[in-house]
Amino acid sequence: MLVIQIKDLTKIYRSGAGEVKALDHVSLRVRKGEIYGIIGYSGAGKSTLIRCVNMLEKPTSGSIKVNGQEMTSLNEGQLRVARRKIGMIFQHFNLLSSRTVFDNVAFPLEISGVPKAEIKDKVTRLLGLVGLADKAGAYPSQLSGGQKQRVGIARALANDPIVLLCDEATSALDPATTDSILALLKDINRKLDLTILMITHEMKVISEICDSVAVLEQGKIIEEGLVIDVFTQPKHPTTRRFVQTIIQTDIPDHIKKPLLQRGQGQIIRVSFIGDSAAEPVISTLVKKFDIDINILYGNIDQIQDTPFGMLMIECMGSRSNCHRAVDYLRQLGLRIEVLKDAE
């Protein structure tokens, strides 16, 4: 089931100086229960995109459906009602400084006209969920950044949203706090089966909790897919740059070149994803195809629960045996790239 469905979304900012096409025919679909990440460099249009979802920004053209409801055709009153079911958290938290933690979380409930007694129960439960039960009476100025974001999360969850929008929710936090907030989001995602759409410029955020990812550049989605696929097989150069900020998918040139020159046999690169990474493929090759294997280079990584890695190996033996070995690896579902054919 689709929670968010965006079609051909275009947003043009017009000002005295001219026009900026912040979004250019963006289409994407977010399924129920998934964490969908959008990554891009500064100015790519990420904030514009996420703010269009709850109409904080009015699209120039295109369609945005949240839970099947077309957002672009709602009138003011309908939009207010629809927004209650779309939670949002912000880079700078945006808490009311004049209200206590409790009253901040109660705010969206007051707005929706929930009775006092019910508010008390709900807020108490939410503060427990985000681990701030003991801070109910504190003011935002007395909290750390991580605690403030927890209040923001509790507030965003108050009206039982169908989707949570996160606009750079961890960008103002230190790495350890970032991890704890990401863990909390993942936890909420699992416990409540809550769909999350988040934008970020940090690949780490994507790799830690997202199921799907879209890469945004100059208002266009240049690549999109499951995180594990995009990480292991990035296609667009920008995507590759992002992926390389946290994992090594390419063999550095200063290592690759001398190895290619020195090597005698067939040199291939094998990429492993998931369980196959653990399989003892190398020894199988040696036994099955009567060749020798020389491991030149390798690394292994993990994205969420999926291990993946890459090996650069040299096959030494007859040319036909080497080719058969490669075919065998391909049959196993491994991604093979022949860097140098056997001599």
Partner: protein
């Protein structure tokens, strides 16, 4: 010598007390009416501004211009110019109650501008978050803008109150009485420096007390 001073003070003390009450009455009532007028005007100035929740530049410009016109009138001229309006409103043009009309008209634009500047300080992100939660314009005004700006509004009201005390000294022109009027009648016209000095001392104390109380309240509501 001291004895003389004491006797003299005792003899004018009924007048001093009466004048103090008049000043207090004029000030408090004017500030209340000025706030009733000025706070909504300040709110309208802010929310109709560019990029705000009810952007309407035409309303914003016209209102801003009207407020500026009233703010540029010297009070003494406003006092006289408003005589017909005062008669219409309270039935008389002299006396303490009559003085409240021009005081209110002078203070309201002042309040509007200081409310405007306090509300402009409210974090845009907080307003945006409220919109994202589905808050209506009224809810944003009552639950976000005014509470978040409260410390600033309190300080602004303190300054307004002190300014109104200053203006009220001119109320003698329309027979409004008050401490300023007393000082002018005794001190300036009869060269009675004792009364003059006493009224000044009372005014200084009143201003200090108001400012301290304002600071105290503002601090109490400031959670930053």
């Amino acid at each position: 010598m001291l004895n003389d001073l004491f006797t003299h003070l005792t003899s004018i003390s009924p007048e001093l007390i009466k004048a103090s009450w008049e000043t207090l009455y004029m000030t408090v009532v004017s500030v209340i009416f000025a706030s009733l007028l000025g706070v909504p005007l300040g709110v309208i100035l802010v929310i109709t501004d560019k990029g705000h929740i009810k952007e309407n530049l035409a309303v914003n410009r016209v209102l801003g211009a009207i407020i500026n016109i009233f703010r540029s009138y010297p009070f003494i001229i406003l006092l006289l110019a408003l005589v017909p309006f005062t008669r219409l409103l309270v039935g008389t043009t002299i006396g303490t109650t009559a003085a409240i009309v021009p005081l209110t008209v002078a203070a309201a634009p002042f309040v509007a501008r200081m409310v405007e500047s306090s509300l402009k300080e409210v974090n845009k992100g907080v307003i945006e978050a409220s919109l994202a939660m589905g808050a209506s314009t009224w809810q944003i005004i009552w639950k976000v803008l005014l509470p978040e700006a409260l410390p600033g509004i309190i300080l602004g009201t303190t300054i307004t109150t002190i300014a109104v005390i200053g203006y009220s000294a001119m109320a003698g022109v329309v027979g409004g009485g008050g401490l300023g009027d007393l000082a002018v009648r005794y001190g300036y016209m009869r060269f009675d420096s004792v009364v003059m000095v006493t009224t000044v001392i009372i005014l200084v104390i009143v201003v200090q007390v108001i400012q301290s109380f304002g600071n105290f309240l503002a601090n109490k509501f400031n959670k930053n």
